[in-house]
């Protein structure tokens, strides 16, 4: 799936990936790829505007840590981010259920 098809869902995907635990940018991309079994093939650089946007909105916290010999900015879900993720999950289930109902119905 291309990056432009993910536009609009990327923030929720990033929140979902970070629900598994704090991670730096590259790790977020790797988790996204693994959890989608390679289905999400977006330009890796596009993850950073999303991370920064979520950090600015208070949904993520970030700090620089020394990980594997390199100074990395590690992101973690805040309480507000956890609430937002729960809301996004609920909206997505409702939305995808309705889309499946319409698209999956016989003509």
């Amino acid at each position: 799936m291309r990056g432009d098809q993910l536009r609009g869902h990327l923030d929720a995907l990033v929140l979902a990936v970070l629900a598994a635990g704090p991670a730096h940018g590259y790790s977020v991309i790797v988790r996204l790829r693994e959890r989608s079994r390679g289905g999400f093939d977006l330009p890796e650089g596009t993850i950073y505007p999303a991370l920064h946007r979520l950090e600015a909105a208070g949904l993520l916290s970030a700090r620089f840590d020394e990980v594997q010999g390199r100074r990395r900015k590690v992101y973690a879900l805040t309480t507000a981010g956890q609430r937002e993720l729960a809301e996004q999950r609920s909206q997505w289930h409702r939305f995808s259920s309705l889309v499946t109902t319409v698209i999956g119905a016989p003509a």
């Binding site: 940018g25 590259y26 991309i29 330009p43 890796e44 900015k73």
Partner: protein, 268 residues
């Protein structure tokens, strides 16, 4: 191909990418530094992964950059190319100085060629007199005062016009040299500011070559017109400048080709 440039350096895909990112990222200096650090670490991680997958160092670094996607995607600013960042402003100043300086020097060279033409074939070869009736007796008196050995007003006027052309060309040449000097000074002063990546590689050379070619064509047209209409009177001036414009076009063309052929290669 990974050939070193004339200075013996090779260009690294990751370094080049970070340079481009530096001059396009919006935000405060701290935000820019943090994003650069994040992206650099990301690229090094991706390179290490690609190395594990069996790629050599250069291919791994290039693959990491390719996976990262366009710089505009990281900066999340679709109209980024139109933002006049400090680096872009500096690069534009350098481009104007280079093209303007070379243009001035080319006009100066045209003056030197014109000087040779005048020495060989006289004032009429580089200048034409005003049409009769378009100047006054006072003008004639002034021209004859400047050229007392001239046999008549038209001869003095032509010599005056030829001198004007040569003096103006020399003035342009001096300004061109000053412009190029300023260009070299500023280029050295800004060498660490990533200005070289603020515009696509070779863009100022291509603009310079295009301007020089257009100028040469126009001047050649004026020269041919002078040959046909005025029986070569004054044709030396446009032809001299056309030769200089072609030299400038050759210089910029060579620079552009060299710049575009220079590979983006890894150091590893």
């Amino acid at each position: 191909m990974r050939m070193p440039d004339e200075h013996g350096y090779v260009d690294d895909p990751i370094e080049r990418y970070l340079d481009q990112l530096l001059v396009t990222l919006p935000g405060s200096p701290r935000q820019v530094r943090h994003t650069l650090a994040e992206v650099e670490t990301h690229l090094l991680d991706a390179t290490a992964q690609a190395r594990t997958d069996g790629l050599d160092e250069f291919a791994a670094r290039a693959a990491a950059v390719q996976r990262m996607g366009p710089v505009a995607g990281v900066a999340d600013h679709p109209g980024l190319g139109l933002r006049l960042t400090r680096a872009l402003r500096r690069r534009l100043v350098l481009a104007v100085l280079l093209i303007g300086g070379m243009g001035g020097v080319a006009v100066g060279i045209g003056g030197v060629i014109g000087w040779v033409v005048r020495a060989l074939w006289g004032d009429n070869a580089v200048a034409t007199p005003f049409p009769s009736g378009s100047y006054t007796a006072a003008d004639c008196t002034r021209w004859l005062a400047g050229y007392p050995s001239a046999r008549d007003c038209v001869t003095a006027m032509t010599a005056d016009h030829a001198n004007d052309f040569l003096q103006n060309a020399a003035g342009c040449g001096v300004l061109g040299v000053l412009g190029l000097g300023l260009y070299l000074w500023l280029r050295r002063r800004w060498s660490g500011a990533a200005v070289a990546t603020a515009l696509p590689r070779g863009s100022d050379d291509i603009v310079g070559a295009a301007l020089a070619v257009v100028t040469a064509v126009v001047l050649l047209g004026q020269g041919v017109d002078a040959v046909v209409v005025t029986h070569a009177n004054g044709a030396g001036a446009p032809f001299s400048l056309a030769v200089a414009a072609l030299l400038a076009a050759a210089f910029f063309g060579r620079q552009a080709v060299r710049g575009l052929r220079r590979p983006i290669a890894a150091s590893g």
